[in-house]
């Protein structure tokens, strides 16, 4: 278990400066989080929300130390692999949870948009921090959220003004750089959307080397009325790292929130989404893809709370599990008594590719209103035998047929990402993962571009 007493152990030594932050709101928030953390048990299999995710090996490596700085000499070339072929975007880069201005590019953002690191924002907009930090909805706050709350080292603060619409995405890029021992990296992000605004936000988690880091992020999103946020999260860390990420969203009247969360990296990853539909006409869409290989474990937990009448939610999570990997979907739709005319759908599909892979699915409905349309479905299976035969009968070898169908399985989730370069990046990643025998990459590229 991580020692969290601020007076003792490794944490204190490294985090002392954090607790002396000049913003009293942040200091208070840390203190509250720390208190909650101290009364929260470290997740274990006996906890229902951690039923399939064994952290006992990780626990042995704790406590871990955050890194305060050692990224001064990084250049833009170092982060090129995560630029999605230099996609036009406003980029904020964080290394080990610290804002890295020399790698970022946010100068061309519109005048009224605020995009800065959280610590600067705390100085300039203390009222916002007081109003929003830790206030987005979260059902059953857990260990890692409190851990982040107590020890985050910075994060992004984005405030989109009313009526702002932009085609150019904002890219938050969180990179880790290890030193051999397991390190801790925690960013805390606040996204505040004005009325009638519309933006696309990409949140990428990647590694700059193959050293292990424990990443523990929390992003809080406050949609404005009648706003639209497309939120794409890509978890691409190296397979020695761990990832515990939460996204907490409040979705008021007539606003739309569309999340696509793709997990390809990390040894153990845990994604938590807590979305609250608080106003009539609100819409929440959660798409997820987790593609595991080797001994990766990918745990996806979602909670959508319908608190208002006339709200709609739609979830599609897909898992592809190869090698010894384990994929978990634990999704809950909660419909409160006053949330009449709710429409909520949830689908989880898992594809098991190897004898030693596991899939666990827990799609849950908890419904207290009667005038609702709710459904959920889950399937676990292998590739369709008829489709395999059809492909083979056209001359396609078994191996290629398998990778084509695997790739096809993931298509609809990837297609929910509206940014072509990101989509293409993911297609290539998946192609390399599952399409080893399927023609050449150039061939794939030319074909893909034809279809675009």
């Amino acid at each position: 278990m991580i020692k969290t007493d601020p007076e003792s152990a490794a944490f204190c030594q490294h985090l002392h400066p954090l607790f002396h932050d000049q913003s009293s709101h942040i200091r208070n928030f840390r203190q509250q989080s720390l208190e909650m953390l101290q009364s929260s048990p470290f997740p274990a299999l006996k906890h229902e929300e951690w039923k399939y995710t064994d952290l006992s090996e990780l626990a042995k490596q704790l406590p871990v130390s955050p890194v305060l700085s050692d990224f001064q000499n990084l250049s833009v070339n170092d982060v090129y692999p995560y630029s999605f072929n230099q996609m036009k975007s406003h980029v904020m880069v964080f290394v080990n949870g610290h804002f890295t201005p020399q790698l970022s590019n946010i100068n061309k953002l519109g005048r009224n948009i605020v995009a800065e690191n959280l610590f600067s924002a705390a100085k300039r907009n203390p009222e916002d921090i007081k109003l929003y930090l830790g206030k987005a909805d979260k059902k059953g706050n857990d260990y890692f959220s409190y851990l982040n709350g107590a020890f985050f080292t910075d994060g992004a603060y984005i405030r989109i003004p009313d009526n702002y619409q932009s085609e150019i995405p904002i890219h938050l890029l969180f990179l880790t750089k290890g030193n051999g021992e397991l390190r801790y990296s925690a960013a805390r992000n606040l996204i505040i959307m004005g009325k009638n605004s519309s933006v696309t936000l990409v949140e990428t988690y990647g590694s700059l080397d193959d050293r292990p880091v424990l990443t523990n992020s929390v992003t809080e999103v406050f949609n404005g009325e009648n706003s639209l946020l497309r939120h794409h999260i890509l978890q691409l860390q190296n397979e020695r790292s761990h990832y515990f990420g939460s996204t907490n969203i409040t979705i008021p009247a007539n606003s739309r929130y569309q999340n696509t969360w793709v997990s390809l990296g990390s040894k153990i990853s845990r994604n938590d989404v807590d979305a609250a539909l608080t106003g009539a006409g609100s819409y929440c869409q959660l798409y997820g893809l987790y593609a595991g290989r080797h001994d990766q474990l990918m745990d996806n937990r979602t909670v959508i709370s319908h608190r208002s009448p006339h709200a709609t939610s739609n979830q599609v999570y897909k898992g592809i599990l190869d090698g010894f990997s384990r994929g978990i979907f634990n999704g809950k739709i909660l419909v409160e008594q006053k949330a009449q005319k709710t429409e909520a759908h949830q689908l989880n599909r898992s594809l098991i590719l190897s004898d030693k892979a596991h899939a666990d699915s827990k799609p849950q409905l908890k419904i207290f209103a009667d005038d609702v349309k709710c459904s959920h479905g889950a399937t676990v299976g292998q590739l369709d035998k008829n489709a395999m035969f059809y492909l083979q009968s056209r001359g396609v070898s078994k191996e290629i047929a398998r990778s084509m169908l695997t790739f096809a399985f993931a298509n609809d989730v990837v297609d929910s990402i509206i940014l072509g370069p990101v989509r293409f990046y993911l297609y290539k990643k998946l192609f390399n993962r599952f399409g080893r025998d399927w023609g050449s990459e150039e061939d794939f590229e030319s074909l893909y571009k034809q279809e675009e």
Partner: protein
């Protein structure tokens, strides 16, 4: 080209084929007719290599090779093409990707260079005209959301692109209106040449008006009980299958 000798096969313990003999030469069109459950589709599936059937006796020689020993994709590369009675839907795989992959696999096998995307698309667009297929279907997932007619046309398009030596059409006419039937038949006719052969499996004589067979075989209870030219099909149409049943019963 294809030589089936005393083929006996079963599925889940039921004997379906009880000794089939059939010779097909290049340039020929053969039709196999028969009542439901006579074993027509089983024969087509076994030739293509579908799992689940047990061949108990006999052999199938295709171009000098023992067909039954080959994997389904190897048969396809050798030039055996099955137009499915119920074409399979493959969500997520686009028609283009599907067909291009198949074509290049077959070309590789034949010692030809692989086509790049541009050449491939040129070829496909040309072939699509043959079956009067809506070009927008190319970008869509294989057969998903296609109407019955579109699926059958898609089968013939694949045939046109892959250029098999032996095409087996399994009930390709079922569920088609007369216009679609003509289109499909015309497509098949225009692909016919002296080096390839066609085996039409059908319950109805209708398709044979447009796709004229050189030989007609009647399959009943797992055996070919009658063979003849196209007039046999007309006779069947007139007298119905009971006639064959009686005849087969007599000969036992």
């Amino acid at each position: 080209m294809l030589s089936i000798r005393n083929l006996k096969a079963s599925i889940e313990g039921n004997h379906i084929l009880k000794g089939i003999n059939l010779e097909i030469h290049p340039g020929e069109v053969h039709a196999i007719m028969g009542p439901n459950g006579s074993g027509k589709s089983t024969l087509a599936h076994i030739l293509a290599g579908k799992e689940g059937y047990i061949v108990e006796d006999g052999e199938v020689i295709f171009e000098g090779k023992n067909l039954l020993e080959l994997a389904p994709e190897e048969r396809a590369r050798e030039g055996v093409f099955l137009a499915f009675q119920y074409p399979i839907e493959i969500p997520g795989v686009s028609n283009t990707t599907f067909l291009k992959t198949a074509l290049n696999e077959i070309r590789k096998h034949r010692g030809l260079s692989e086509l790049d995307a541009m050449d491939f698309l040129t070829l496909v667009r040309k072939r699509m005209k043959l079956v009067d297929m809506d070009p927008s279907l190319l970008g869509r997932p294989v057969n998903e959301g296609f109407s019955g007619g579109e699926k059958k046309r898609n089968e013939i398009l694949q045939m046109a692109v892959l250029e098999p030596r032996l095409a087996i059409l399994d009930e390709t006419d079922s569920g088609l209106d007369i216009d679609a039937l003509k289109t499909v038949a015309n497509g098949v006719n225009s692909l016919k040449n002296k080096d390839n052969a066609t085996l039409v499996v059908t319950h109805y004589q209708r398709l044979l008006d447009y796709l004229v067979p050189d030989y007609v075989h009647v399959l009943f209870d797992g055996r070919i009980v009658e063979s003849g030219d196209k007039t046999l099909a007309l006779e069947l149409e007139r007298k119905g299958y009971d006639w064959i049943k009686t005849k087969a019963g007599d000969s036992k």
